[in-house]
Symmetry: C2
Subunit: 310 residues, 2 copies
């Protein structure tokens, strides 16, 4: 067997900790370091931080050490992450990031993405933004489906998540329990919003060779019986593409549903949906071997070879 790929976990929030725990289960991967800037975590043993019953002999560090690849889970905005990913690339390590805007960074930050691409090429490493959404159900999966089509006229994706079955952070993120007034204030402040829906749409448009000049995104609340907010309905539209995300407590029939209008028309349903709390750490970990074998550069999920469990 080949030597395991040595991994540093960068960012120890819920997704980062889940990714690190999963790395420990994989024979072809070896967890060798952890980075977090939180002073409450720095210096502690990673086993303890991950809630394991054993020490790992890995101290959480503020500083990036050496490994083969980094799983990066710190922020949603590409501008906030690009510096960290650059640092990772300069240290000659591959990087899988959960940064939502990194799914298709050219949408909002074309110049910055091109710069990071050149940096990756210079240091002969590969980087990609992924996750379950953005990263899989509303972008990579519908794009793959078009492989069996002669013609695609329109793509519609609907993701329905019952936020009541998800971690509390997600319920807060969708505004569950707020009054409509509180909800509106938070939308204004930008604290309620799924980041990455426009990036998913731009990714699909790009794969289809369509110029989408502007993605229209709209965010509405869904109400509970008592008049408070149950969660959100967020829709992105651009040309013949529509991505709709419903995330609220009590959403019936949770699912991921893809309609391809074309020849042939395709209608796919993932019943029960794809649970992000598990699936996002999983795809971050599973994509690592694909990065290691990829051409150097800043990738998207369609320029890597087929991702699958590692």
């Amino acid at each position: 067997m080949d030597k395991p790929i040595r991994i540093i976990q960068y960012g120890l929030g819920a997704i980062g900790r889940a990714a690190a725990r999963l790395v420990l289960e994989k024979k072809n991967l070896q967890l060798v370091g952890a980075v977090d800037r939180d002073p409450k975590l720095v210096g502690r043993d990673l086993g303890e931080v991950l809630g394991l019953k054993r020490k790992l002999g890995i101290a959480v560090s503020e500083k990036l050490d050496r490994a083969d690849a980094v799983i990066h889970c710190t922020a949603s905005k590409f501008e906030e992450c690009a510096g960290q990913i650059s640092e990772i690339a300069c240290a000659r390590m591959h990087c899988a990031t959960s940064c939502e805007e990194a799914l298709f960074p050219a949408l909002r930050h074309r110049a910055l993405a091109a710069k990071l691409d050149r940096l990756c090429i210079r240091h002969r490493v590969a980087a990609v933004g992924t996750g379950v959404n953005p990263g899989f159900v509303m972008d990579t999966l519908p794009v793959l489906l078009t492989a069996v089509c002669r013609r695609v006229d329109a793509v519609r994706v609907l993701r329905v998540v019952d936020a009541g079955t998800r971690r509390e952070a997600l319920q807060r993120k969708v505004g569950a329990g707020l009054t409509v007034e509180e909800f509106r204030q938070r939308v204004k402040a930008g604290t309620i919003r799924h980041v990455g829906l426009s990036e998913s749409l731009a990714f699909v448009a790009d794969a289809l060779g369509r110029k989408v000049r502007k993605v229209n995104e709209r965010l509405d609340h869904v109400l509970r019986a008592d008049g408070r907010v149950a969660g959100v309905k967020q829709v992105a539209r651009g040309g013949p593409l529509t991505l709709e995300l419903q995330m609220y407590v009590g959403a019936p029939n949770p699912r991921d549903e893809i309609h391809i209008e074309g020849d042939p028309p395709l209608h796919l349903i993932m019943h029960g949906g794809t649970p992000g709390d598990i699936a996002t750490p999983a795809i971050l970990v599973n994509v690592i071997p694909r990065l290691v074998e990829a051409k150097p550069g800043l990738h998207t999920m369609r320029t890597l070879s087929l991702p699958h469990i590692t």
Copy 2:
């Protein structure tokens, strides 16, 4: 825009003709030649052979000319196709083949596949076997789904095709209308059998890193009300993997259904299924740009970058 990729269509059966017609619709591809050994076709204008109302100025030839890539649709057995694909590789052309066993040729012909791989590398071209089944619904698609899994315990795929809605050749292929005795004779003679189910299973097993020593394949008939054969039910099993293909006239609820048992469990249904008569030529054409950009060698659908409509 880049120069179009110049294509030769090799093999002018139903799938080959459909692929050639589709190439004509694609701006990034240019049909420049056609090969078939059938003396009734040789020398005729391709436009006429394709049922178009115009001439294309391309004469069907017995001999392989020069292009960038070849869409190869002649036979199901890898042994029968390997010589032709070698010839294509030696002429420095990429090759997408509908040869069912080429989906995962290492299953039955490891040495021959390794030899063809070396030949492709020497001539700096890429080749792959693909189609809708094998090639997509029972192999590539379930493998991609595992990308969002922490753990996979078992994979079950069910493809139900109503042969009554498909081209007549398929109805004959599944034995529709035969007596049970006639059906058994044809099964014995090997003329009734979907080729590639074991290859799909071996492809999935390989992606999951599972050693499957032996694929068990079983073929049964499905009866009509009048006691004659309606079609086939074919099942391949190996370790925790089960692929079941039902193809018969009048099959209810046609669909492609994938169950991943694991964490998370996933349950996907493609309602109505993925019609092979359209989807196989489509994926053969759509995979061409992925081949052109790939590393040289004999690929599988999981070593190319994400296929999608071109």
